[in-house]
């Protein structure tokens, strides 16, 4: 059964032995960040529930919801031991069910308390500094919802970093390529109000889809329905008729201030470095709706990889790229874009003819995500599991011929967050063909490969099953 809220997910995580309650009192800094960093960094880290926060007797904090492959499997309502490649396959399959439109409801727990004036975001949420040099207290996993002023049926749900700057003031970081930035361009040009709603602490499928690189006019709620296997329930915001997740703990509503920019950031990002402080957009908050206390505040630790963010923006990115490339090249078996949000991307495919690996690499670089993020692209044969780095390194060490199989594309678009840049936003793409050469390429003279025993894959599954069944 899909989850209707973060609370329902936590129940399941606890039943499955994947929830760790931290019962002792913790300090907002540095305890929450330290323990959350540890849980995301270790293999198989649990979901964390901080039950006693110094200074906030009526609030709890939830961290690391997506922060291990076991947790990730549970968020998809799969058995917790589902291998990464199987999770990828399942996501691709569910992606194909799109669209499953949202179901509108008229009442929801998130409307239990409605605050219209004299509220303080510092009172409502147990905010904390995620990393020491962040410019303030950030909502790092909340989902922002807004409508396109030019086409109000087009609604976006996305994760943007959001800085709490005052009792009723938020900073939100928009980059030129973001959907919300396009909405703001329209709102400023037409000089019409732009409303935003921020959903805090959701069913884990909500941030999973909100952090997926969908197309501009794709409906995130209809994708959530496809991934969950049932429509997601939404309720109307108090102002502006935005659809907001009915299962959220809290909705913060406000108006994006047009023609106004102010200092925002810095904030530690997924490459493990701080992104700079910028003049950014602000939201004046005028409504808060929420559940009754004790409220759960879910946030995301970001820092040096690996951590929760690498899981959260991992397989959704792989599946998006895979689906886009598969349309043109059905030979593709799988895409692994897990490393630093795809800075390293591994493509596994059958080869149509010699040199085909370079064709695939170029196609990756023309997908929306591929334009900027990948800098190291490795292509392997279809029999190599791109999610198994031991197999990928085997392919690199036994298939790759540097004098023929290495290509560099200098001065190409790059992620602006890559700390290794010489010019921000530009970089060199490295393409490595680690496939077995096929006609008309020169065959490998001494390649007398050892076949895997025919039922090896069956026995891997069988051994795992028998081990799990042991008391």
């Amino acid at each position: 059964m899909p989850y209707g809220s973060l609370r329902e997910f936590l129940e399941k995580a606890e039943q499955e032995g994947r929830l760790l309650r931290i019962a002792e009192e913790v300090r907002l800094e540095p305890d929450v960040r330290t323990i959350s960093c540890a849980a995301g960094r270790m293999t198989g880290g649990p979901v964390l529930l901080f039950e006693k926060v110094l200074g906030y007797p009526d609030k709890k904090i939830v961290m690391n919801v997506h922060g291990s492959w076991e947790n990730h499997a549970l968020t998809l309502d799969l058995p917790k031991n589902t291998p990464v490649r199987e999770q990828f396959r399942e996501i691709v399959k569910r992606w194909g069910r799109y669209p499953v439109p949202a179901k509108r409801v008229t009442s929801a727990p998130v409307k239990e308390v409605v605050l219209e004036r004299d509220f303080s975001l510092f009172r409502e949420l147990p905010l904390f500094r995620v990393n020491p040099m962040d410019g303030g207290f950030f909502l790092s996993k909340a989902c922002a919802i807004a409508r396109d002023p030019e086409n109000p049926s087009n609604q976006n749900v996305g994760i943007y970093r959001i800085q709490v700057k005052d009792h009723d003031l938020l900073g939100i970081q928009l980059s030129a390529q973001h959907d919300l930035a396009a909405y703001l361009r329209s709102a400023e040009r037409l000089d019409v109000p732009l409303r935003a709603a921020i959903a805090v602490s959701n069913d884990p499928i909500v941030p999973f889809v909100a952090s997926s690189p969908l197309k501009f006019d794709d409906d995130e709620y209809a994708m959530m329905g496809a991934i969950r296997g049932a429509p997601v329930e939404v309720v109307s915001s108090e102002i502006g008729a935005l659809d907001v997740p009915a299962g959220a703990e809290m909705i913060i509503e406000g108006e994006i201030l047009r023609h106004h920019r102010a200092v925002e950031g810095p904030f530690a990002e997924y490459p493990g470095s701080y992104s700079s402080s910028m003049l950014q957009v602000e939201i004046r908050v005028d409504r808060i709706t929420r559940r009754r206390d004790p409220i759960l505040f879910e946030n995301l630790y970001t820092g040096e990889p690996w951590g929760e963010i690498d899981y959260l923006q991992g397989l959704n990115t792989c599946a998006t790229i895979y689906n886009q490339m598969k349309l043109d090249f059905p030979e593709i078996e799988a895409v692994n874009a897990l490393y630093t949000h795809g800075y390293c991307t591994i493509i596994a495919s059958r080869m149509r003819f010699g040199g085909f690996a370079k064709t695939l690499a170029c196609r990756l670089l023309s997908t929306p995500h591929g334009i900027t993020y990948p800098k190291l692209i490795i292509v392997v044969d279809a029999n190599v599991d791109p999610f198994n780095l031991q197999q990928v390194i085997w392919a690199l060490t036994t298939r790759f011929r540097p004098e023929r199989d290495l290509a560099l594309i200098p001065n190409a678009p790059a992620s602006t967050l890559d700390p290794a840049h010489l010019i921000r936003g530009l970089g060199t793409k490295v393409i490595i063909d680690a496939t077995t050469p096929v006609y008309p390429d020169i065959p490998m003279e001494d390649n007398i490969s050892v076949d895997l025993p025919a039922d090896t894959d069956f026995w891997i599954g069988e051994i795992q099953k028998r081990m799990q069944a042991k008391p």
């Binding site: 300090r27 907002l28 800094e29 540095p30 110094l54 200074g55 906030y56 007797p57 009526d58 303080s120 510092f122 009172r123 500094r129 020491p132 040099m133 410019g135 303030g136 207290f137 800085q163 709490v164 700057k165 005052d166 009792h167 900073g171 928009l174 980059s175 030129a176 930035a181 703001l184 361009r185 400023e188 920019r261 102010a262 200092v263 925002e264 810095p266 701080y274 700079s276 402080s277 910028m278 003049l279 950014q280 957009v281 921000r424 936003g425």
Partner: protein
């Protein structure tokens, strides 16, 4: 109160912990830096704040995102040379 990040003198307390006496939150009206009284010295003390992260009025004026969130009217079609 002096802002640890931009040294503005107008920083002030804006919030007391709901559980009395645990901590306070301060805020700078210029650079919007907020901090909790119980954080480490390198966050709360102006003289210990990392120089790379310090802000000034001149620095703030330079902090326009590139590329801009909303390009100036007609910018895309205007020849640069």
């Amino acid at each position: 109160m002096i802002c640890p990040r931009c040294d503005d003198q107008r920083a002030a307390k804006i919030f007391d912990s709901p559980e009395s006496g645990a901590w306070e939150i301060y805020r700078c009206p210029r650079c919007f830096f907020t901090w909790r009284s119980t954080e480490e010295d390198r966050v709360t003390r102006p003289e210990l704040y990392d120089a790379d992260f310090k802000l000034s009025e001149a620095k703030i004026r330079e902090m326009i995102p590139k590329p801009p969130i909303v390009p100036p009217e007609g910018a895309a079609s205007k020849p640069r040379y």
